[in-house]
Symmetry: C2
Subunit: 421 residues, 2 copies
C-alpha cells in the first residue's frame, strides 16, 4: 500500500522538539508503513504526518525522536511504555485505534524476541510467585473497587445475553462454573487462586458445599475472610493464604478460575501431580478457567514487564498435554468464552474511564494511562481472537459420574440457584 | 490377591487335549493372576480351574496349550485372535467379562509392544488408505444393514435421554452436528469421510445447504449416490469417491465424522494444510468428530490387525497441537461423548446378536465371533473411559461469526429441524 505524505500543522508547537530532520521523516514513513494496513496514521512532534490510503481510523502522535526510534526497535514493549509515559498519544477513538493495530499481529510469525521469551521463561518458584502476585493484586482493594463489579470478580464474566449487565454476568459466570461441576450439598471443594473470594462464597451459599480457597495475595485474602464472616459463611469457606502447591488432602471438586495464567509452564508438572492427587475419587471432577492462545506465544512484552510479571497464556493443547494427560484426567468439555472476555473488558474499561479522576487521586498519570491502555488492549486481544478464554471440565480417567448431556446447563437461566438443589 | 485352585469337571472332555501337566497348571495360575483383579477365572482344557477370591464374574475357558501360551505372551493381540478362533471361550455374560478384563488395562503403563506400535506407525499413503478402508467398510452393505440403524450411520450417536432409541439418537447426532456448525440455507459444506451419506443428506434436506461429500469406500459411495437421487437431493449433494486429501476449493463449513481415526498422525500436517485452506473465510467453521484417547496409545493390537488396519485414536491434545494449531484454527467447543458411544455400541451389539444367524449365512464362524467380540469390547472401552469420543468445533483464528453462548444448541429438542430456519 502506498502512503501519502502531508505536512499538516503549519506551526510547530512552542514546547515541542526541534523540527523533524529528513532522517526523522524517513523513520516516520517506516513506522507508518508497519501499521499501514490498520488505517492508523503517524504524526511527528512538529506536525509532520503520514496517513495510509483508505479509511482513516486515527493517528499516533509521536512526541520526540527517541520515542520514534524506540517504538520502531521494539514495538511489542514500547507502544505501551511510551503511551504510558505520554510520549506517544492517540488521536481518535482509543479502542478503535488499538483494535486496528492489534489485528496486524494476529497472523504475524513470532518475532525473535517472542521466541526468546518462550525459551527463557523462568519457573515461578514460591518466592517469585508471591512477588509477582503482590505486584498486581495488591494494588489496593480501593483501586479495584472503582471499576470491578460489586462482588469484585476479576475474571471473564459470562453474559447469558449480549446486553446483560456486568453484575449479572459475573453471577452467571460463577453459576455456570458451579453447574459444569455439578456441585451438590456436602461436596468438598478446593479452589486454587480465589481472588477476593466471590466464587468460593457463591459455591457455599448457593450450592451448600464446603470450600478451601487458596490465594497468595495478602489484600485479597484479608478481604475474602472478612466477607465470609460478615455473610455468615465462615464455617463453610476457609480462605488460606498459601500457594496452590501446598494444597493437601482430597476433595470432590477442584476449581481454578484465572490462576493458570500465573502458574507458568515450567510448573505444569507439579500442577498435574496436585490435580491427580486432590480429586482422585470416582466422583472427582475439576475445572480450569484460564486465558489461553491458539498457538504458543508469550504475552505482550509490556504486559509481562509491567502488568503481569511471570504470566503466560498457554495454548489449549499444552494444558491438556502437560497438565491433564500426565494427571490421567479426561477432558469432558471445553468452552471458549473469548467474546465474553472482550465484553467484560469493555465494561471494566468503561467503568475505569468513568472513575479515572479517582484513580488519579491514588496513582500518578503514567499509572492511569498504563491501565487505560491495558484494559483497552486486552479487550481488543479477546475481540479479535489474539487471546482465548478456555473453561475445561475434566474428571479422573475412570470416573463414572458424568452428565449425560450438557442440556442441564441451559435448562434454566443461570444466576439464581437454590441452595437446595 | 491369593487364588484358590479347584479341580472342577471330574471327567475331561473326550475331544479335548490331553490332561494338563504341572507346567500347564503353573501357566494357568500365571494367566489367572494377570486378571485376578477383574473377578474372572481361568479354566483349562481338562477342567482344571483357577478362580479369584471375591465376586466371580465369569471364566475364560482355554481350549489348548498353545492358546494358553499365546495369550500369556501377547494378550493384547491373542485374546481376540483366540476368541475368534474358538480356542478361548467365555463362560458367563460376555459383556460383563470383557468389561471386567478391560478395566485392568486402563491405568496400566504402555507395554513395549504398544510403544513400538506408536513408533513404527506408517503413514496411510493414498493406496494404503484405500486398502485399509476397503478392508472394513466394503464388507457389504447387507452386513451392516443387519445391525445399524435405518440410515446406516456407523458412528457414535447422541442420546438426548438415556432411554432414546438408536434411530432417534442417530438423527439427534446429525442434528447436533448441524447445530454446532450453525448451518444456514445456502451454506457450502465439504464432508470428509461421509460413510453411507446420511449426514450429507440430512444437512441438505433439513438445513438447505449444498454438500460435497468425500469417501474412498466403493460400496458406501454407490449406496449414498443412489440414495441421494432417490430422495431428490442429487442436485444438492455430490458424493465423490476420492481421498480427503484431494478436496479442492473453499467452503463455509468443513465437517468430518469418524474419519480422523483413519488419517493416522503421520498425515496430520497435510490434513492441517487442507483445513486451513478450505474454510479460510470470515464465516468459516469446522467440526471434527473422532474416537480419541486421554493419552497417546495405539489401538488394541487385534483391532489394528483385523478390524481397522491403519487406524489410530489420538489424544485430544495431539489433534489440537498437530492439526488445528498449525492450521491457525481456534477451538470454540469440545464435547466428550464417550458414554454415548458406549450406548450406541450396546445397541449395535444387541442388534448384531439378534441377527447373528443371518451373519452366519454370509460369513464363517470366526468372523461372527470376531465381530461379536469387537462390538462388545468397544462398548466396554468407551464405558470405562479407555476410549473417548470427541467433537471439536473450530473456526479460523480471526473469525467473527461466533455463537454468543451454547444455549441455542439446547433450546429445542434435537432431531426435527425445519429446512427453513
Amino acid at each position: 500500500m502506498s502512503r501519502s505524505l502531508h505536512a499538516s500543522g503549519a506551526v510547530a508547537r512552542a514546547d515541542a522538539h526541534p523540527s523533524t530532520t529528513p532522517l526523522d521523516r524517513w523513520l516516520g514513513t517506516k513506522l507508518q508503513s508497519s501499521i499501514a494496513r490498520s488505517g492508523v496514521g503517524v504524526e511527528l512532534w512538529d506536525g509532520m504526518s503520514f496517513r495510509p490510503d483508505g479509511p482513516h481510523v486515527g493517528d499516533l502522535l509521536i512526541r520526540d525522536r527517541r520515542a520514534l526510534i524506540a517504538v520502531l526497535v521494539n514495538p511489542d514493549l514500547q507502544y505501551g511504555e511510551l503511551y504510558s509515559a505520554g510520549r506517544i498519544e492517540v488521536r481518535g477513538d482509543l479502542p478503535r485505534v488499538v483494535d486496528a493495530i492489534s489485528r496486524l499481529a494476529i497472523d504475524a510469525p513470532l518475532s525473535w524476541r517472542e521466541r526468546l521469551a518462550l525459551w527463557t521463561e523462568r519457573p515461578n518458584a514460591l518466592v517469585r510467585a508471591r512477588r509477582n502476585i503482590h505486584h498486581h493484586y495488591d494494588l489496593g482493594n480501593d483501586f479495584y473497587r472503582l471499576w470491578l463489579d460489586r462482588q469484585m470478580v476479576y475474571t471473564c464474566a459470562y453474559y447469558p445475553t449480549p446486553d446483560a449487565a456486568l453484575e449479572e454476568a459475573q453471577l452467571a459466570k460463577m453459576d455456570l462454573v458451579c453447574r459444569k461441576l455439578r456441585l451438590r450439598p456436602g461436596d468438598t471443594v478446593v479452589e486454587a487462586g480465589c481472588g477476593w473470594g466471590a466464587l468460593a462464597l457463591h459455591m457455599a451459599r448457593a450450592y451448600g458445599v464446603r470450600v478451601k480457597a487458596f490465594n497468595i495475595s495478602t489484600e485479597q485474602i484479608a478481604y475474602a475472610r472478612d466477607r465470609a464472616w460478615r455473610e455468615g459463611l465462615g464455617d463453610r469457606v476457609e480462605f488460606i493464604q498459601d500457594d496452590y502447591r501446598n494444597v493437601s488432602g482430597r476433595f470432590d471438586v477442584f476449581v481454578s478460575v484465572g490462576m493458570l495464567e500465573h502458574v507458568g509452564r515450567r510448573n505444569y508438572a507439579s500442577l498435574a501431580a496436585i490435580l491427580r492427587r486432590v480429586i482422585d475419587r470416582p466422583n472427582g471432577r475439576g475445572l480450569l478457567h484460564f486465558i489461553g492462545r491458539d498457538r504458543a506465544r508469550p504475552l505482550n512484552a509490556r504486559t509481562r514487564r509491567r502488568i503481569f510479571p511471570g504470566a503466560y497464556a498457554p495454548p489449549l493443547s499444552e494444558v491438556i498435554s502437560d497438565v491433564l494427560e500426565p494427571a490421567r484426567l479426561s477432558v469432558l468439555d471445553v468452552e471458549n468464552l473469548r467474546i465474553h472476555y472482550a465484553r467484560t473488558l469493555r465494561h471494566w474499561r468503561e467503568r475505569y474511564t468513568a472513575a479515572e479522576s479517582d484513580v488519579r487521586a491514588m496513582f500518578d498519570d503514567a499509572f492511569c494511562r498504563a491501565w487505560r491502555l491495558y484494559l483497552t488492549a486486552s479487550e481488543a486481544a479477546f475481540a479479535i481472537g489474539f487471546l482465548q478464554l478456555f473453561q475445561i471440565l475434566f474428571v479422573p480417567a475412570s470416573a463414572d459420574a458424568i452428565r449425560w448431556t450438557r442440556a442441564d446447563l441451559y435448562a434454566e437461566p443461570v444466576g439464581a440457584p437454590d441452595a437446595a438443589r
